[in-house]
Symmetry: C2
Subunit: 251 residues, 2 copies
DNA sequence: GCCCTGTAAATTGTCAACAGTTTTCAATCC
DNA sequence: GGATTGAAAACTGTTGACAATTTACAGGGC
């Protein structure tokens, strides 16, 4: 089943080469390759759900749609192949990968280990400014705990702040790459309301372990936090219920 | 400094398209793209040290050398970019990445967390056949502990067996990808002889924790094992001494 | 109806050419 | 000698054409 992305889908237009302010013939030069722009656009389409697992990326159609030649499309696909978002099959094309439950659980496991490591590192070295920022997020999440639409972005931001502040670029990059891949998993489960309160209590506990510099405790709590999310994922898939968007930071 | 790989370097020849046995005009078809073959060859060149950090990959020269057009070279470079082995700079070319100590230490940290997770998973579910295999490797390493050339490959195999047997593909893939990147770090330290005995004592301890199903102990020991390697890396760089090849599984 | 065959259309993989950008190098000036 | 300039060479980014492979589909047989 080859689904060619609709030419009228929201968001996809010819790619714009980044330009400096007040561009003129003397100042315009290439600062980003088309291949790079195509890669980002395809990532956006995958993460947003516009492209779904199993969809085939038709080079010719994409080239026409994005108004580039097929070369940059091919290059972008090679990039996406290595990040695990697509699979390139020789002579047959490039397909958005599909992730089954087993693989999603594997990703959760690896993420939980990385999240735990982030906790360890943070507890060893968290600045007052970071702690204040985390606390602010926690308080806003408390205030939003009756409203998923408000809570969820804060939750995502809290998680990302933790990982990005751990002082290890490879940790952050790996964690985020895995999160992106989780978008390929399309089973969705309801997030019960009480779950947000539980979720933020766990967040507070993590924060407190970090603040008092307890590395072992922070690691254990943060690893367990993602694992709890894994447990909920299993429950959701059993319930076969339907629910809101992405899973990557689904507490 | 752009170093174009020497046309006479060992190992690099025109790429061979995989063929089935007794190929004829009727049976030959493409089973692997040139881009994929090029990627593998470039990886080999990087991991083997033939290409070093900072080297520029000249598309034209490589195309001539490997007897392909520049397209597959470009595609391969996009792949390598995402795996962290090279850096693509628009309009300037593709460069083998260089890793400084700070980044090497980051990689060690992430690897230690992943290795610890492998221990956790193995302790929860290790088959008798796997345990027997690990024990065999341990015994061979004991016998080889006076001989680095014999010890080192066994050590690599032991580590890979652990990670590959943990039952989590993403864990293994991530771990190995990071190991590959460590080849970009070019400071080398002497591996003292006593270090192999210490190293294998730690291996035995890990094995025993796994065998008795002690997940927490296995995780801690295995995480500590890589961290000890990290500590040795720091010491080596301070000593500024020179020593044998790759670091990725340098206990 | 299903299965097989053959052909055309569609698509992918690669190549070479062209345009744009950067690097190299010679000449000139101080 | 060092700094600057300008042109040529080298290289990268993209495109379109061609070759190879796969897919789609029509027609025929059972």
């Amino acid at each position: 089943m080859a689904i060619v992305p609709s030419p009228h889908a929201a968001g996809s237009a010819p790619l714009e080469q980044p330009q400096r302010e007040a561009p003129s013939a003397l100042t315009i030069r290439r600062t980003e390759s088309l291949a790079s722009l195509v890669r980002k656009e395809l990532e956006r389409m995958i993460v947003s759900g516009e492209l779904r697992g199993g969809d085939r990326l038709n080079e010719q159609a994409l080239a026409e749609r994005l108004q580039v030649s097929r070369g940059p499309i091919r290059e972008a696909c090679r990039s996406l192949e290595q990040t695990g978002l697509v699979e390139v099959q020789v002579n047959r094309g490039t397909f958005v990968r599909q992730i089954e439950l087993k693989e999603a659980l594997e990703i959760y496991e690896v993420r939980s280990a990385l999240f735990g490591l982030a906790g360890q590192l943070l507890a060893q070295d968290a600045s007052p400014a970071l702690l204040a920022r985390l606390k602010g997020l926690l308080e806003r999440m408390d205030a939003a705990s009756d409203n998923l639409d408000a809570y969820y972005p804060l939750n995502v931001e809290f998680h990302a702040t933790l990982v990005d502040s751990a002082g290890n670029g490879h940790l952050a990059a790996t964690y985020h790459a895995l999160a992106k891949q989780l978008h390929l998993f399309r089973r969705r489960g309801l997030v019960p309301r009480e779950s947000m309160k539980v979720s933020n209590r766990e967040h507070w506990a993590m924060y407190e372990a970090i603040a008092r510099g307890d590395a072992a405790e922070a690691q254990a709590l943060m690893q367990a936090h993602i694992r709890a999310g894994k447990g909920r994922l299993i429950k959701m898939t059993r319930a076969e219920t339907v629910a809101p968007p992405a899973l990557a930071e689904d507490d």
